[in-house]
């Protein structure tokens, strides 16, 4: 095969290393952002995406008022970051193209790895499937059941694991393998 990262020009290896390092940095801060805004437990993810829409999907027949006392501590309490339908539409619109480009960039790295064809196909499938499932989980959590939060969590981990597999194989084959050119 013409494109083999083990025997690629050092400039190509350096480019791929830079790409992987940059994506790795963005993944680390992506995880930190998830920790800040949605959390890593099914309960916190469900609270972020399902919100209260699941509990009251239909408006009442007549406008009604519910009053409850508040203390200043209630105002200071930790706020649950919620993503309503409009914001999720916006998030999906801006994140999915970026995820696609990241998956494509990592997929190009996979194509240059020395891997059995099936494993390479599986890895590329995982790179694209994980973000699809990530957003599918968010939408299913919002529209169907908070139980689907687990899909988003699993897909988020899958994105991280897929990146780590690609990065570890690429770094090993480019810079450490005895067969490298």
């Amino acid at each position: 095969m013409l494109y083999d990262l083990r025997r690629a020009d050092v400039r190509v290896k350096w480019l791929v290393t830079g790409l992987l390092a940059t994506l790795g940095l963005s993944y680390v801060f992506g995880a930190a952002m998830v920790a800040l805004y949605a959390g890593f437990t099914p309960q916190s993810v469900a609270a972020t995406y399902a919100g209260t829409e699941m509990s009251m999907p239909m408006p009442p027949e007549t406008t009604m008022v519910v009053q409850r006392p508040m203390s200043m501590a209630d105002f200071a309490g930790p706020e649950v970051h919620t993503v309503d339908t409009k914001l999720l539409i916006q998030d999906t619109h801006v994140h999915v193209p970026m995820y696609g480009l990241i998956a494509a960039a990592l997929g190009v790295v996979v194509v240059g790895l020395s891997l059995p064809r099936r494993r390479a196909l599986g890895l590329i499938a995982l790179l694209f499937a994980a973000p699809w499932l990530d957003f599918a989980g968010m939408w299913l959590t919002k529209l169907v059941s908070p139980r689907f939060a687990i899909v988003t969590i699993a897909a988020g981990w899958a994105m991280g694991v897929a990146y780590l597999i690609v990065a570890a194989l690429a770094i090993h084959q480019m810079w450490l393998s005895p067969e490298r050119g």
Partner: protein, 184 residues
């Protein structure tokens, strides 16, 4: 390759930056309901008809169809009410706290949240006196904060002031129609 670079640039430009807290909610509550020592949350669950009426008036539907007003009292005397209103912009959401006097006029406005990108625009708009333009407004009146700071602030600050205007207009419409007119 050219397409790929352009697509990456467009995706990066469209990426919404995280939300930051500009003023903590308790601080906004103390500023907008001064002297209050007890608070009550008044959740107004809108019927389909009322939600539609509000949407027609200010092109807005509150999250989950629920308006939340916070009333404050000092002893047995009301010191007013406030609302937190979110405005979704192409640059992400901002949150505006709008406080009302017991007589129903705007006591003050505080921008409590914005995205990292919009934060400097908000700070510039507020420094240019944006929130002064809302004091005394009553339901039915039109907020003119953006027009008020035009010429004294940059284009982006004026732009974000227009978004704050929307939040204040929504709060005025909601307060005027639903705060005192629906029985608990």
């Amino acid at each position: 390759m050219n397409f790929l670079i352009r697509a990456v640039a467009i995706a990066a430009l469209l990426h919404i930056t995280p939300i930051v807290v500009l003023v903590k909610r308790p601080d906004a509550v103390q500023a907008l309901l001064p002297g209050a020592d007890a608070y009550v949350a008044r959740e107004v669950h809108l019927s389909g008809t009322d939600a539609h009426r509000l949407h027609q008036a200010v092109d807005w539907s509150p999250e989950d169809g629920v308006l939340v007003f916070y009333g404050g009292t000092a002893g047995s005397t009301s010191v007013g009410a406030l609302e937190f209103v979110r405005v979704d912009t192409p640059h992400g959401p901002i949150e505006v706290a709008v406080g009302f006097t017991p007589q129903g006029a705007v006591r003050g406005v505080v921008v409590t949240k914005a995205t990292v990108e919009m934060k400097p625009w908000v700070l510039e708009a507020v420094a240019a006196g944006l929130t002064d333009h809302y004091r005394g407004l009553k339901p039915g009146e039109v907020p003119g904060g953006a027009a008020g700071i035009a010429g004294r602030a940059g284009n982006l600050a004026v732009y974000v002031a227009g978004e704050v205007d929307k939040g204040v207009a929504r709060a005025l419409a909601a307060y005027g129609a639903f705060y005192n007119h629906v029985r608990a």
